[in-house]
Each structure stands twice: as C-alpha cells, then as structure tokens.
C-alpha cells in the first residue's frame, strides 16, 4: 500500500465517527427540514407537497414570527454584550481578591450549574411585581417598582438579569486569561505612571481580545438556541398552568419573551404544523450561519493557530 493511501486511510479512520455523525445528525436532518418546509405535514398522515405555502404563512400571516425575530436580535445585541462585559468585570474582580478567592469563585460560579427550570422559577418569584422581595425592598427605598416578568418593557431585561446570574462559565474563562497576563507588563505600566484605566486599556484589554471574541461567539450561539428560560418564565408569570384548559400564551407578556426556538416547538409539537415549523428552523439556521460567517471574517481571533 502506498504511503499516500495509508495516510488517507488513517485520516478516514480518525475522522470517521465525526464524519458519520455530521452526515447523520447534521446534513441529513438539515436536508429533511428543507424538504419538509415545502410540505403540509401533521405528523400522522404522510406529507403532501405544498410549495411556498408555509413560507407565505410564516412571513405574512403568522403573528408571532416577526416579534420573535426582533426579540432574538434584541437578545443578541443586549444580552451578549452585557454578559461579556459583566463576565470580564467579575473575572477581574475575582483575580483581584486575595482573601477568600476560592469561596468567592465557587459562589460566583455555582449559579451557572443551577438547572434552568429551577433558576427561572426562582427569578420569576424574586421579581414578582406585587409580592416579590426585590420590589418590596424597592418600595421601602421609595424607588419605582418595575413590572419585571409581567411588563413587556421589563421582561427581556429580567431575563438578562437571569442570564447574568449564570455568568460563572464566562467568569472562569476570563479569569484564566487574566491570570496569564505577564506581570512584567503591569510593572512596566506602573513604572510609566499609568493609572488603573490606562493599565486596563493598554495591557489587559488587548490580551483579553480572543476571550472577548470567544465570549461573543458562544453568546450568539446560546442566544440562537434560547428556549428554556423564556418559555418557563412566560408560563409561570402569566399564571397559566398547563392542562387547566387555559390557553398557553406564547411570549407572555405581549410576545415580549418569544424566541424562534419556542415557535418551532409551538408549530411543530403543539399545532401539528411541521412544515411551518421547518420554515422557522431554516430561518434559525440562516441566522446562525450568517452570524458565523460574520464572526469568522474576524475569525483568526478565535480560530488561532495555523488553519
């Protein structure tokens, strides 16, 4: 066997599980989704070809689509940014602390490990506009009490607070990178009489740039998939308990917490309209790939090494 041949076989051997996986769990379902988006399919009877009907419906007549899209973009702009900034701030904080660093680290990281359903429930209660502790304290301080999860202007900020609470993973990553900055650079800056801000701007920040890039990328990925927290928050805050005969109200209040993944679930698994669900799935895919392309343009940032 020629050396070339052997090399090819070796490559295939090492890559095979992933190649198979990509074919089975990425390419195949993606093409299926594309196919179904052109059919009328309820999951019980065989699908029938329908042309662009589902697309017309989703883009023109489905009242939840455009709010969900706007919400997703809001989350990308606000939540990803705030998470990155807050992660950096907390990372820097933890690095600064001498005493009790271990304890602080665990305390700051632990919320990340909380099951999403439980942490959402906790926050919905804590931020209950009428009886929750947060508003009670605000009331005592004479400050305005926002409606949080029951107010369309405050529901997304409330979800952002929840996301910031789970900042642990980003904190650890920023921390690791901060610990890596050579001390000499800081010493040199000090000698030059640089203040805290200049130190940050000229020594710390450039070093952190790849992490910022990573944080933005993973943040966008997570935002595209944002499902559990908004759906649980909407259900709980609206008081609609499933099965009591009450209508489930997507995106309570006033569609402000709707996200595209929730629509996939609503159309595909609750409304028996798999074709339209696939249209939304494709929009999700397009958006993700769009962001991926943009981020990869500046990609050497986080691809690193010789590509």
């Amino acid at each position: 066997m020629s050396w070339r041949r052997r090399e090819t076989l070796r490559n295939i051997a090492f890559l095979s599980p992933w190649l198979l996986g990509t074919g089975l769990f990425f390419l195949y379902p993606l093409l299926s989704t594309l196919y179904f988006s052109f059919t009328k399919y309820n999951g019980f009877s065989p699908p029938t070809f329908d042309g662009l009907d589902n697309y017309r419906y989703v883009f023109g007549h489905y009242p939840f689509f455009w709010p969900a899209l706007r919400n997703t973009l809001w989350f990308v702009a606000v939540m990803v940014t705030l998470r990155t900034v807050f992660g950096m701030a907390v990372g820097m904080l933890v690095v600064r602390l001498r005493r009790g660093a271990n304890l602080f680290r665990t305390v700051f990281y632990a919320p990340y490990l909380a099951p999403p359903v439980a942490s959402t429930l906790a926050f919905v209660f804590l931020l209950n506009p009428g009886t929750g502790p947060v508003n009670t304290v605000l009331h005592r301080l004479g400050m305005p009490e926002p409606g949080w999860f029951n107010d369309p202007t405050w529901s997304k900020p409330a979800l952002t607070l929840l996301a910031l609470w789970g900042i642990g993973d980003l904190m650890v990553i920023f921390m690791a990178s901060l610990l890596d900055v050579p001390k000499e650079l800081y010493e040199a800056a000090d000698l030059d009489g640089a203040g805290a801000w200049s130190r940050f701007r000229y020594v710390t920040l450039p070093h952190l740039r790849p992490i910022v890039g990573f944080s933005v990328v993973t943040g966008v990925i997570a935002t595209m998939q944002y499902y559990t927290q908004p759906i649980v928050a909407g259900e709980v805050a609206s008081g609609h308990i499933q099965g009591s005969g009450q209508q489930f109200e997507p995106g309570y209040p006033e569609q402000s917490t709707l996200t595209l993944p929730q629509l996939v679930y609503n159309l595909g698994f609750q409304r028996f309209d798999i074709g339209s669900a696939c249209v939304i799935a494709l929009v999700l895919f397009g958006l993700s790939m769009g962001f991926a392309a943009v981020l990869m343009r500046r990609g050497s940032v986080f691809l690193g090494g010789d590509l």
Binding site: F44, P46, Y57, F248, R271
Partner: protein, 449 residues
Amino acid sequence: MTRSTSRRGTRRLTVAAVALALPLTVSACTGSSEGGNNDDPDADVTITFWHGWSADSEVAAIQATIDAFEEANPNIHVKAVGNITDDKINQALRAGGSSAPDVVSSFTTDNVGQFCTSGAFEDLTPFMAESDLDPAATFPPAQLEYTQYQGNQCALPLLSDAYGLYYNKDMFAAAGITEPPKTMSEFDADAVKLTKETGDGYSQLGFMPNYHGYESSISHFVAQWSPTYFTEDGKSNVANDPVFAQSMEWQKALVGKLGGYDKLEKYRSTFGDEFGAKNPFMTGQVAMAIDGEWRAGMIAADAPDLNFGVAPFPVPDDQADTYGKGYITGTIVGIASTSQKQNAAWRFVQFLTSDTKAVVDFANAIHNVPSTLAALASPDVSQDPAMQTFIAIASDPDSNTTPASPNGGAYQLTLQDLGYAFESGKQSDLQAGLSDTAAQIDTDVAQSK
C-alpha cells in the same frame, strides 16, 4: 489538472445523488404505524390508559373506576399512567409503537379538532353503533359538541366542568346585597358596591375582570351571550356575531368602573397561586369570582370558614330569560388510532363514559360534574348545594362551549390577544380588531388543513 477536475466532478455527482435520494428516503421515514380493530375483546389483554390526573385523591378515584371496570371485564387489564399533558399525547401518538397508549384522556378540549382531522383518534361512531349506544340520547349537547369535529366523533366526554359565579356571602351582607345578581347590570352594580379602593390599591375588590385574572377569560364571559364562533362553512364569526363585541364592551366598561386597567393589573399581581391556598377568592381579596365546580372542593379543604355561595353567572340584560346557563367544558377521552387493541379499548371507554354508576361515583369523588344525561339526573349524585347548582348549569339547554377547530385552541388565543389589547386600551377600534381577528383565524385554519 485532470485529477482535480474529475474529483470535482465526482463530488458534484455525489451531491446530486444525495439530493435526489433524500426525498425518497425522507418520505420512507414518514410512514405512520397503523392500528387495528380486529382484536378479540374477549381475549385476555392489557391496555394502556393515559390520563392527566395527579393529585392523590384524584388518582385514587380513577383507579377505583378502573377497578370497577376490571371486575366487570376480568379479561381486560388496564395499566394507567397519570399526569399526562397534551404535548406528551401528541408525541406518543405520532410515534406509535408498543409504548404508545391505547386509551387517552385529556383535560383540554382544544386539540379535539386536530385529533379528529389528523386521524390520531379513532372515529367512535362505528363503535357506538355496534354497542347500541345513541350519543344524542346519552350525552348532553354541549358535551357532544366539544368532542367531535365536522361529524367525526373522535372523543367522548369523561366528566364535565361547569362555570358559575362564586360569591362571598359575608361581603354581600355587609354591602346590603340580598341575592346574587342575575343580569349584567345587576352584576356591575354589585361589583362596584363591593369594591373598596385604597390609594393605589384595594382592600377588597368586587370582581377581577381583567382577562389574565385566572378564569376571567373571553371564552368564559362570552358564553353568557351564547355566541356562534364559526359559520356553517367553518369561517370565523367573531366579526359578524354582535355578541362578541357586546361582551368585550361590557368587560371594558366594568374594568373602567372598578378602577381602571393598570390599577387592577397591579392588584392582580398580588394574587396567590390560582390552585393554592391563597387563591384570591379564598383569601377575601375578591368578593366574586367566575370559576368551575372544583373550586367548592378546594374551599372546603383550604378555607373551610369561608361563607360562600354559588349561582349561575349573570346573563346580558336582553337575554334575561336564559339565566341559568354557563360555559361547559370537560375532560375528553378517545382511542388512539395506533392501538392494536381497539375493541378492548372501546369496552373500557364505553364503561368510563356511559356506565351511570361509574360516572356518578367518579364525579362525586373528584368534585366534577357528571357528563351523561342519566348521571346528571341520578339521585346518587352529590346533593351538596354548590354541586347541585353546577349540575343545573350543566343540564341547562342554553349552556354552551367553545367548538373544536382543526388547529386546536389557536382561535381562542387569537381572540384572547385582541381582548388583552382592548382591555388595556392598546386597541381602541373594536370592530376593526374583530375583523382582523376573524381574518387571522381563517388564515390559521386554512393553514392547518
């Protein structure tokens, strides 16, 4: 560069082949599993029954009914699984296979239209014919209405819920009201009399009219006007039937009389869990509430000192002679089309839904309203005055329900969204809103066909 060209060419061919093969493979992957009704119902068999009950007392009650059935039919064993919601039902029915249930029951009537049109539930008409069961003579008309779609009776009612007016007798006495209101004008007057505002809140609210207020929903209110949701050919009627606008105008006026939308919403956010011990009616935060017959049982358990009464919910002034009607809904039960033991399943369904003793016992045990004409008239039904009121409501010929639709409860949700917009003032032109809503409902229904 012949090598690379041919490589590119091969790649192109592969892509094309995959693209062509895909629809074929995909459609092969979408075949559904077929059920059958060729089973011998007298053979020894086990059927699986999925239901939504989960509280200990309720589970014990359904188990007692199952035990009674198994005693009468020793060859059929029923394996029951509880706390099932519609999402799980949908998934199981689509998947089929051995873990899928044979008999399914659901708390919500919303999906009956989908179950019927998609074929997920079997049409029970042939089964009933074979067993000499005449649905019109057995079940009240509203109950039959929400278990069928366009002639396909793919489900039957398994106990009903009726909605009425709960009122706090002590608060009535304190306000000088001697009997519960019968018309909307009387109701509005009483609600105002019973409301005590304090600064930016209330110490007592006559009634919570806001559409997010638990059971204060559009479909429950408008039932008092006897609406027609859909025309003969399945088109939404909300813009043409004047009662929808009348009902929504009434609600909006009441919201204004009681303090305005924002103030009421703020008060609503202080309410405890609907089904917990801090339900606002049970804590005295509201003097009147619209609720189902199960509330009496909860009051007995969690607020036994509450001096309350039950009456039918008021009717519009111009329909005063129909007083006594109310909104009806209930649990539905059907046979999965993927079941291989449909005859045995039918025996069980027939027993559950039409054996008078079983229905009465079960209704008494979980404080629901019986769902057959015979059971409603039976002397063994709970004589508790609250329950008797609901039985009267359920038996009232003008009581009505929300009809089935092929895309589930979506049309109710669309109407409800208009309600939210209208009550808060975001939508001021009601008629235009209703026209838009009707158009949206029609589009959604067309999309689901």
